[in-house]
Assembly symmetry: C2
Amino acid sequence: MRKMLPGIGVIGTPASVRSYVPLLKSCGFQVVALWGRTKEEATGLSVELDIPFCAVKVDEILLNRNVDVVVISCPPHLQSAITIKALGIGKHVLCGTPAGPSQLDALKMVNAASYYPKLMSLVVFGLRFLPTISKLKQYIDKDYIGDISICEIRIHYEKKPKEHFDWMCDETMGGGVLNTIGSNIIDLVTHLTGQKAVRVHGMLKTYTKQTDKIKGIREITSDDFCSAQLELENGSCATLTINSHIHGPFNQEIMLVGSKGRLTIRGADLYGQKNDSLKEELLHFDPVNFKEEQRYGVSDKTRAEIPTPYLKGIIRLIESVKDAFEKEEERQSYCQDPVKVAANFEDSLYVQTVVDAIRKSNKSKEWIKIDILKEEPDPNPFLSTTIRKSTLTLH
Amino acid sequence: MRKMLPGIGVIGTPASVRSYVPLLKSCGFQVVALWGRTKEEATGLSVELDIPFCAVKVDEILLNRNVDVVVISCPPHLQSAITIKALGIGKHVLCGTPAGPSQLDALKMVNAASYYPKLMSLVVFGLRFLPTISKLKQYIDKDYIGDISICEIRIHYEKKPKEHFDWMCDETMGGGVLNTIGSNIIDLVTHLTGQKAVRVHGMLKTYTKQTDKIKGIREITSDDFCSAQLELENGSCATLTINSHIHGPFNQEIMLVGSKGRLTIRGADLYGQKNDSLKEELLHFDPVNFKEEQRYGVSDKTRAEIPTPYLKGIIRLIESVKDAFEKEEERQSYCQDPVKVAANFEDSLYVQTVVDAIRKSNKSKEWIKIDILKEEPDPNPFLSTTIRKSTLTLH
């Protein structure tokens, strides 16, 4: 008999939840509870998605005894607090991206996770699970391109105008192409090269400040164009361009150039060319599998909402989470192996640090050194200094 | 009867001269003299290209009474002095790119040209003459894309390893992808948008420091990878990536994104998409015309040396120079109209200023403001200050 998979509580009601819930269900998870900001939102979506319980108080979800795993998909500024609470109550956490919105939030999550090492605490950087990414890593390991010197990443897509002003429109709340899309790529660069950034630079632009729906005194402050450069530990570099003004299909190209050749991911396919070869070769072909997507309950809406490579990655990620739980007998236990490749909160802290630094660079017009926060800053440094001093004088 | 076109003296013996001379000849110009650094180089090439006179002293070319136009195609650090001398003697000048190597050299050329307004003084930024660029400008004028906000330019090609160490390997002598390729693009951005950069940033990398032929104590210092960002006068921006580690054909993409749509040049073809349209459309198709190229004496070697869009542009530029001279009766006179679109020394000074600023930004790790040099700096500021002071005390 197959193991009963853990019950899932979903936090948040963004459009993407309409995609995640069918996905989770078709993997065999039971989605048992949903949190929404208002009663209308929570009830409406829980009826639509056939979720038995809903609430407007987060605690009612976190304390629900049928909830074993909390899937967090709410605005970034709420994620950190909910994650920490969920872990404290003893629930596994799958945290959506972007996390944040700042480095400090990410650090608090790292600290919380380190208290509960037996609980799953993962970040949904789906691209890590994309088959073509695993293939690319294999080719790197086989020394197909030699020493990597340059990562060139270019993302072109069309950002649909928002209906309402929300966190996506506000930079300080975690909106913008750098945080929402770029964070995935920053994570990927380190995942693929094994190198972290030591210094970063960025130019962020907001060219669409108002739309038909968002006008008057409210203005969009989140970036819709981003050009960022990363210098990595071993002297290699990465350059990242995200342009959300390109009408047409989502277009993502990730190119790794090394001393012996290059590897390029276009969409979900992998191409490669060795320097001594005359032609680029197709190394991995991964077209949209409509049948498979149908099995996972992927609708046209989902396809419009989540770009194909990301969707494919998320499906694999959820499959891996399922495998992880299935490998252990007890309902709430899981095996680390299937989710070894997933990003944890420390990865997320690094990514958030880079994102923060790029934002700072955009303002200060200079390169910013990457300093990963190790301790939460003193909430009241004046008081503490005095106490410390008086403690010192006692001895 | 057709007018006798002016005689041309060529300064320099790089590989590209093997392409320029047949081109000039097939346009009807007489190439009457050639300067080379050594007797062997000068004699060898003049025999090969059937040029009646050659010399190792520049003056012998410049003073040659059959030479009306001097085409300069020598290392950047020699160009400025030769240009100034040529203009002083009363010869028209067509100066190859990159000019430079520094802003001061470019300023000296501007000053020289302003003394002799009747002499032609052009810089060979061939892309301005590429038919697809003219087409693109027409579409901009027709308001196809509305207000331009982003210029995204990406150039991928394979830099063949050099046989010998020369100026191309040395950053201070004007080598590197930024100066050799990027200068054309910096010029083009302003040519197309009508906007100059106010502030620039750049990351330059030299990943190939030694080759099979260049090793030992000598090292290549010129950049082989460049990522640069420009902020333009009206708040729009440009981002430029030049990667010379991509084996395969030369690949150049220039994309202009505006409020109403985008225009993209791939190679020599123009594509466009309006925001309300579902598909990109081909607006101008300009394949390689082998028959035409044959007429201009373009060999396979030329094709390997000069990328197609640049070659096509240079052919048009030389045709325009011919037209300019043909329109006036006197052999040495020319009409401004056909070469109105060409870059002059002031354009070159601006480009050199931006290139210098990007290099400085790469070293200082911050954005650099564009300050176009207007006066040559005092060669001996200490002495002059003293003199100025003593002059002051006299009154």
